[in-house]
Symmetry: D2
Subunit: 365 residues, 4 copies
């Protein structure tokens, strides 16, 4: 269970890091959206391994195939199945994992739950699983852009102790993609790349923070109560591998302000109601207010490292592990397109649901 | 939409702060669980307004009635409907809200979404909505305790700039309930109460952090991918009013460590696989590992304050608002039972789902 | 589980035949729909017991209270909770049921599933549970009428061996309600009333068939594959107590025709594509084609009868039962508003979902 | 939407009759179930086209590939993706369908819903979509057999005016598979084959009835209210292409009996409570009682026929159509494994859900 996401725009991912392949089925996509493999491939290319010296050296082109749901260059409204074959697998690198648990990895818990696991690579807990999310996110982005000109831009805000300076109002995708660490602050980027490269050589790893802004989100998206927009976003982002924290707007720093400091005063601007500040992060009471949606996600340092660590075997004997296999010294740059994808999936689903509940009665008049 | 939570243990809440009442329907509760109104009332009493000088003076006993699903002191396995009538309502206090938007409140976004709202109190965005959650959470806690001796204890970890010192292994519910700010650190409690009382007199408000520990959670609960246990918890907690941030285990501070520092080394302890540290917060790869589940939630300062603020009216004219009505100067102490309830709801649902998927084949053998 | 129905227009019912009351929570209702208790009461009055000599003599006014979700005569878009108190209960009539299973009733299976049941009345399996459905159906009907002028008319088509003659194109609600058996064929009605009254005196019971037509359903509602419109309708109607069969359009009689006889030939009529015949019953490939939706539901004779029957006790001893309590000699006339409600719930949910998936991209242009 | 089925054992199908392929993702499968492609292939072979002179001559081996979720011959508990490539496609046979609507087919309604469709073959409305269902059903059957020795056997009960005589207690899969029409009554089978072969030569088509029995279903499976077992079965079966009617137990014929005739009297048999008759069809109050579950499904004659028919074009001009392409003169024999698959999917999902709700509290004791 747990492999389906969304209410009307609903995706189901499948696949392990080693095996026939990985992919996604997207159900509920609006019909007549122009769509081709290149739309999806460009996002997969941002996610794929081997793209730079600070990512895992595993070589996968991650070439996608659309199996269904598209005809003559347009979506049919029926399920869009997208598949990527696994190619550069080296199961032999993982033979030790069959019996030895990697600390802070999912080996032990998968065994606890299922009594059994695919020990070749990370199985289902591998970041490879996110291929399906990023592919589906590419479609969601297209719908959001097409319908309301929504822009979703993620970037690396922090690596270990380094923090980037970014203006959420003006940041561009081009600036993000201008360097391999995916941060629009060039000074930060240079230092962060050095830091990651250095930790890689030590056989250790680093974590960091991804920040993401969604601009032009139509006011009204989201729901009261359990499916508040910030709650859906939190779940979406916290479901990414290695994510340990989530903030919307002011986040944890917001507790350092008083109510009169934190409240976002309203003012009129033409047809719109705007706010002077944006501590709310674009959401009030679970519903988008039209300001920038701003969120941050904390990613822990990669669990699989070459350094020696104490651990146990499947039969509960103490042992020592220095992991083989190919791993990212820092997942954060590759997490950027993943975070964007999850944000897009939430917003697209909310767009369709809002249209369903709140535009049906008014629409025909 | 968005008023239902859970997959097998599924709750639906209803009601506005002013109107006939609020409540919850719990579907999927296991049969033959001993249950009476007192089980629920004791949790509602921790949540209710008017319980101390640092909460809203609105006087509600929040007396609950079980309408269905219980017979001769035991659950039937059919929906348990629980209702609490609204009593001490003063709609006249809110007449200004009919036309004026409270900054950082849900007034403007509800209008944007629904074109219409109940302006008496907070309507559906009121903390009063959480009565249903806390009532259902009381049932979930009972199931978890009955089945696996799970203990869920929340407490105030931070108010504004003050931080409490708490040992997650030994903290008790009695210690939490020993003071009105709900923190087991007595020194912190005293200072925090003063701080809140002081801000109340200024007509302003404060925020803070609730920490929550779940002990004795059976290994194996939770799912890979979208419904990772930390993702479900994040959604659950972030769906509470005023919540702006969520952390599991090391959270945002985890990015300051390297992988070799952050990894939780395994060691054997009798039948169990344990970890030396618990940066993971009891969850690895979305699945509980049997260690303490530890999470934190950031709550912003209450939006409704007596201090004058700039805002706009429904027809987009600038105006000034100094809110009337009765409000909490700091929601954090009352948020403690709400966070516990949401954690209990997630864990109970995961318990039933795990039983369904992973115990069916083995069970009959 | 199993007490929630619908995807966007989603209802959850609660309550047993004896106990605090029964009701429903409607989530996802479009906002700004005019709604008051009278809208709901008029449908509940068609369903309630004691309305004529051929229904159960239990006296319940079934007066409903709207607890939430409506403000100043309009829906808020938040959950609408509706409650009906149980009043004329006689638990003592059922003391025998505590230990004795009624044949073809749910007593034995509830015990098998839950190990426990409310033996006062039918508990959750009582027709009283349908109050929530009929209340929610009244709202769904209003939305359908308001949005697309959809008319849903059910009537008794058959009682035991008697069959009514009805023209689905012209039948009116007034004609249906003109007699206590709820059939627009007056000759049939007279004979059927006699038949039911006669069986009642014998302490036995009868079954029958309800037919239902939905006119003006917008083409395009419904989905391919699992959620085909006819499949959703089948589930909806088959979930009513005592329902044993379902047909759409030609139904079982359709197998007696060849393809060339059964196919509904298309022809143009102004802007519309029409069909000459309607063996399809208004649905092709799971999607409404704009013709009348026509369905039939078979209801078995009431299980609870005064006549003596062989059965067993809870501890599996043979015994004999002649049921006390107050029961319908034939549920079919009261099933008419239930069937209409279920059809309305399906169509309303499909309307909102269709709007969500298929009108989002086109709508803003 | 509408391409996902089930609550805990949840399947999502994808694919059109012409295009990259068709398939299914099964989420929620219990771990450690022995599974290989041969388990699935044997059911797909019963469904595939070209298997005899009375099915469509389209030649597809329908060879399946398991892409994920199985490792070393056992299920992992993660999603099982299964794919079948389309091979023997002849899109040119369908060029006329691009502009001309086949009577009683889904061409017109897909256009009404989506504004667009894949006119090569039936697109998503093709019986080819059921490959995913039958593949998933093979897994469900294995779980049911493994856990509770459940047997599910479907067969052709009626073709046009011919009816087979079958004993539900003793019918075997071997008897069903002993002839190409899939009926255990050899006399009926011979006549039915002639009838179908004859209609095929006339360019016309026939319908019929599939009956299905499920033996050894554990008492307690199923739910009260909306998800009654008969309601879930009705939806499952009515979602198959061409299905127009559904009956459980006595079905429509049950209305010809009185309550005292129709009630299934209970008697004790060892540890079990049994019923003397089985008009209930193994289900009372939505919950299995342990007797044989017996259901029937009516399939209309195939809509696509070679005979000339009046119809309209996409731009609403009258025209005449004599369909090309390769079609079944009668889908009923191939519908047998489809019905079995849908019954297995419902029962397996109910098994897991029952385990989740009703075995959690008791299990650890």
């Amino acid at each position: 269970m747990g492999n389906t996401f969304g209410q009307l725009f609903r995706i189901t991912t499948f696949g392990e890091s080693h095996g026939g392949g990985v992919g996604v089925v997207v159900d509920g996509c609006p019909p007549q959206l122009p769509l081709c493999e290149a739309d999806i491939q460009k996002e997969l290319d941002r996610r794929r391994p081997g793209q730079s010296k600070i990512t895992t050296p595993r070589r996968e082109t991650d070439t996608c195939e659309i199996l269904s749901g598209v005809f003559q260059g347009q979506t049919l409204g029926t399920p869009i199945a997208i598949m990527v074959r696994n190619k550069d697998t080296r199961p032999q690198d993982y033979s030790e994992m069959a019996t030895t648990y990697r600390p802070s990895h999912a080996d032990a818990t998968y065994d606890a739950k299922f009594g059994f696991r695919n020990w070749q690579g990370g199985g289902r807990s591998s970041a490879r699983e996110t291929i399906g999310r990023v592919a589906a996110g590419a479609i969601a982005k297209k719908i959001l852009h097409h319908t309301a000109n929504v822009e979703i831009i993620g970037y690396v805000k922090r690596i270990h102790t380094l923090e980037a300076i970014v203006d959420v109002n003006t940041v561009t995708m081009a600036a993000v993609e201008s360097n391999i660490v995916r941060s629009p602050d060039p000074e930060f980027a240079e230092k962060a790349i050095d830091l990651i490269d250095n930790i890689r050589r030590q056989g250790d790893s680093l974590g960091g923070v991804v920040e993401c802004v969604a601009r032009n989100v139509p006011p009204g998206l989201g729901n009261p109560v359990f499916d508040k927009l910030e709650a859906e976003l939190a779940k979406a982002v916290m479901s990414l591998p290695a994510c340990k924290g989530f903030e919307i707007g002011s986040g944890f720093a917001g507790v350092l302000l008083t109510g009169s400091e934190h409240n976002d005063e309203f003012y009129p601007e033409g047809d719109r109601v705007r706010t002077r500040t944006n501590y709310s992060g674009g959401i009030q009471g679970g519903i988008a207010n039209g300001e920038n949606i701003i969120l941050r996600a904390a990613f822990k340092p990669t669990a699989t490292i070459r350094k020696e660590q104490n651990t146990v075997t499947r039969d509960k004997q103490p042992t020592v592990l220095a992991a083989k296999g190919r791993h990212d010294p820092c997942v954060v740059p590759r997490a950027v397109p993943m975070v964007e994808a999850m944000v897009a999936l939430v917003l697209c689903d909310r767009l369709l649901c809002h249209q369903g509940q709140c535009q049906t009665i008014a629409a025909p008049n």
